[in-house]
Amino acid sequence: MTATITRVPVRGEVRESLRDFLYLESLALDEHRFSDWLAMFADDAHYEIPVRVNREKLAEWELSPNGRIFSDTKETLDLRVRRLETDFAWAEQPPSRTRHYVTNVLAFETDLANEFLVRSNCLVYRSRGSDAEATWYSAQRRDRIRRDGDGWLFVHRWAALDQAMINARNMSIFV
C-alpha cells in the first residue's frame, strides 16, 4: 500500500468518469435502488469489509487477515438485495436514510489495461426513524473497477471501517 504515494494517479477524463461512477453508485444506494446498485457489479465481483481489531502500533495487522464483516460474492449480494426488496427486512423498516460522502478519489493503473484501482474515503451518515442521533461509518475504500463498454463495473469493493468497536446496532446498509 505504501507504494501508492510514488505512483502517479490517473487524471483527466478517465478519472472523472471513474469518480462519477462512484457518485452514481452512492446515488443508487441513497435512493434505495438496490437492484440498480447490484447491476454495477461484475459477475465475478467480491465485496468485502474486514474485521478490525484494536492492536498496538507494531502489531502485524490491525485488519484481521481472515475475519470479515462482509465477504460477499455477487450471488450473496443478490440475496441481500432480494431480502431488502421483501416486506420483511425489519432492519430497514423504516428504511435508513443514508448519505454517502465520497471524497479523496484517486485512481491508479493496474496490471490490467482495462482495470483501475480507485481509492476513496467514504463517510456514511445514517439516520433511522425519529432518532435525533445519527450513526456514522467512516471508511477507506479500495475498489477495482473494470471498463465495461462505455461504463464501468466493480470487480472488487474493499472497504475498511475506521472503528474496532462499531457504533451501530447493525450493518444493514452498504458502504
Binding site: V51, V53, E56, I69, D72, L79, R83, W90, N167, R169
Partner: protein, 436 residues
C-alpha cells in the same frame, strides 16, 4: 393504570410468585436501578465468559475482555496457564494493555513504568531505592487477580471468590454445550477475532432469545421464509425440544425437522467421526437436532444450524458464540465469534465462516432483524405506562417434563415454549435477591 410505581425491592418481591406463574415484570428490561443491582449481584457473582482457549494458544498470548465494568487481561503465562487480572496498574490506575490482543511476557506501565509479568506479578518498580527506600512490598501490589475456570475450551471468570465451582455452576449443561464445543473429535476453535459493536439493547432480551425462542423465527426472519432459505416450514417449525437446568438458568432450544439428515450441513467425514468424543446419549440428542440455540446464564449464547445460499441445498453447518455484554440498562457491547470444527478442512472452515457472516455477525441477514426488534423492545420497555405491568410467559405453563429424555435437565416438547425463560428469569431473580 395508576402512576404509582413499585420500588425495585417490591417489584422483585412480587416477581417471586409472578415469574413461576408466567408473568415477568416489563420494567426489568430497561431500568437503571435494575441495571446497577445486576452489575453487583449477577455479574459480580456469576461465572462470566472471558475467552476461548484457541484465542490464546501460545505462552504470552493475551486478549482483553470485560466482566461488568472491569477490563480484564486474559493471558497465557510462561507456564502455559491461563491467568486473568484487572487491566489496571496498581500504582495509579493506568490501563496496562491498550490493545485487544497481543503477545507479551511482561506489561510495562506507560505512566511511571511499573512492570508486571503477564501473570500479574509486580516485578519492576523505578526508583525503588531512591523513592521507596526499598520499603514497598511488591507482592502486595500485583495486578488484581480474577478467578478463572474452564470447560471445553471456554474460559470463564468470576468476581466472587466464594462462588461455587464452574462445574457445579454449569450443572449438567456441559452435555449440550458439547454440540458447539466438540464439533469434531479435536474439538472446536475460533475462526477469526470476534466482531464487536454496540447496540441500544438490554442484554436479557438477547439472552432470552438465544435460550430457545423458536417462536420468533418465522416472523422476525420472515424474509428467509419468503425467499426459501429455511430448512423448516411454519408448520413444522415449532417441533423439537426445550431443555433447561432448573435453578441454574441455562437453557437450550433444539429445533427438529422430521426427515432431515443427522448433522445436516457437516461434511461426511465429520458426520462419521463426530461420535468419537460424544456419549451415546449425546449422539441421540444431537443427531436429531437441526438447530440448537442455547445460553449459559447470564449472557453467553450459542447457535448451530445448517445454512445454504441455494434454497433446498444442505449447505454448511455453522456455529456462532456470542456475548451480550451489558454496559447500561439499554445498551450492550456485542461480541460475536464463529466456532468451527478443528478437524475440518480449511475449505470447510471458510465456508462455515462465510455462512456465519451472511447470516449472523453484524452484517448478518438474520442478526440485523433481531437487533432491530431488540432495540425497539428495549426502548418501549422503559415506558412509564408499562412500569408496573408484566409480559406473559405463559406458553407451556402446564407442559409435562419428558420422562425418557436422555440428557440432563428438564426437557419438554414442543420447542416453542416459555419454559426455559421462566427458569432463566427465576434464576436471575434469585441472584438479584442474593439468594443463590
Amino acid at each position: 393504570m395508576t402512576q404509582t410505581t413499585l420500588g425495585v425491592d417490591a417489584l422483585l418481591d412480587r416477581a417471586r410468585t409472578s415469574i413461576p406463574a408466567g408473568r415477568v415484570p416489563i420494567r426489568i428490561f430497561n431500568d437503571q436501578e435494575i441495571f446497577e443491582r445486576e452489575q453487583r449481584n449477577v455479574f459480580g457473582k456469576a461465572w462470566c465468559f472471558l475467552a476461548h482457549t484457541s484465542e490464546i494458544p501460545k505462552p504470552g498470548d493475551y486478549v482483553v475482555r470485560s466482566i461488568a465494568n472491569n477490563s480484564i487481561i486474559v493471558a497465557r503465562d510462561e507456564h502455559g496457564d491461563v491467568r486473568a487480572n484487572l487491566n489496571m496498574c496498581r500504582h495509579r490506575g493506568n490501563q496496562m494493555c491498550k490493545s485487544e490482543m497481543g503477545n507479551a511476557s511482561h506489561f510495562r506501565c506507560s505512566y511511571h513504568g511499573w512492570v508486571y509479568k503477564n501473570s500479574g506479578e509486580l516485578v519492576g518498580v523505578p526508583y525503588f531505592q531512591e523513592g521507596y527506600e526499598t520499603k514497598l512490598n511488591r507482592q502486595e501490589w500485583s495486578l488484581i487477580n480474577v478467578r478463572t475456570d474452564q470447560y471445553g475450551g471456554l474460559i470463564f471468570g468470576t468476581l466472587d471468590p466464594d462462588a461455587p465451582s464452574l462445574e457445579e455452576y454449569l450443572g449438567g449443561f456441559q452435555f449440550y454445550l458439547d454440540m458447539y464445543l466438540k464439533q469434531s473429535p479435536g474439538g472446536s476453535e475460533v475462526f477469526a477475532p470476534p466482531e464487536h459493536w454496540t447496540a441500544k439493547v438490554n442484554w436479557k432480551i438477547c439472552t432470552e432469545n438465544f435460550t430457545g425462542d423458536g417462536y420468533h423465527t418465522a416472523v422476525t426472519h420472515q424474509f428467509a421464509v419468503e425467499l426459501g432459505y429455511f430448512p423448516s416450514s411454519g408448520s413444522t417449525h415449532y417441533q423439537g425440544w426445550a431443555v433447561n437446568i432448573p435453578g441454574k438458568g441455562h437453557g437450550i432450544g433444539l429445533g427438529h425437522t422430521p426427515g432431515l439428515a443427522p448433522f445436516a450441513g457437516f461434511p461426511d467425514d465429520l458426520v462419521t467421526t463426530i461420535g468419537r468424543s460424544l456419549t451415546p446419549e449425546q449422539m441421540e440428542v444431537f443427531s436429531k437436532t437441526r438447530t440448537a440455540v442455547g445460553s449459559v446464564f447470564p449472557n453467553l449464547s450459542f447457535l448451530i444450524q445448517p445454512f445454504s445460499v441455494k434454497p433446498g441445498e444442505a449447505g454448511v453447518r455453522f456455529c456462532t458464540m456470542r456475548l451480550w455484554h451489558p454496559v447500561g440498562p439499554d445498551q450492550i457491547e456485542m461480541w460475536s465469534w464463529c466456532l468451527v470444527p478443528v478437524d475440518a478442512t480449511d475449505e470447510y472452515k471458510q465456508a462455515a465462516y462465510d455462512a456465519y457472516t451472511l447470516a449472523f455477525g453484524q452484517a448478518g441477514t438474520f442478526e440485523q432483524d433481531d437487533f432491530e426488534n431488540w432495540t425497539n423492545v428495549t426502548r418501549q420497555a422503559g415506558s412509564s405506562l408499562a412500569r408496573d405491568a408484566d409480559f406473559p410467559y405463559l406458553m407451556g405453563l402446564d407442559g409435562k417434563v419428558l420422562d425418557d429424555w436422555p440428557g440432563p435437565g428438564e426437557a419438554v416438547s414442543p420447542y416453542v415454549t416459555d419454559r426455559n425463560f421462566r427458569n432463566q428469569w427465576a434464576t436471575w431473580l434469585s441472584y438479584m435477591l442474593d439468594e443463590v
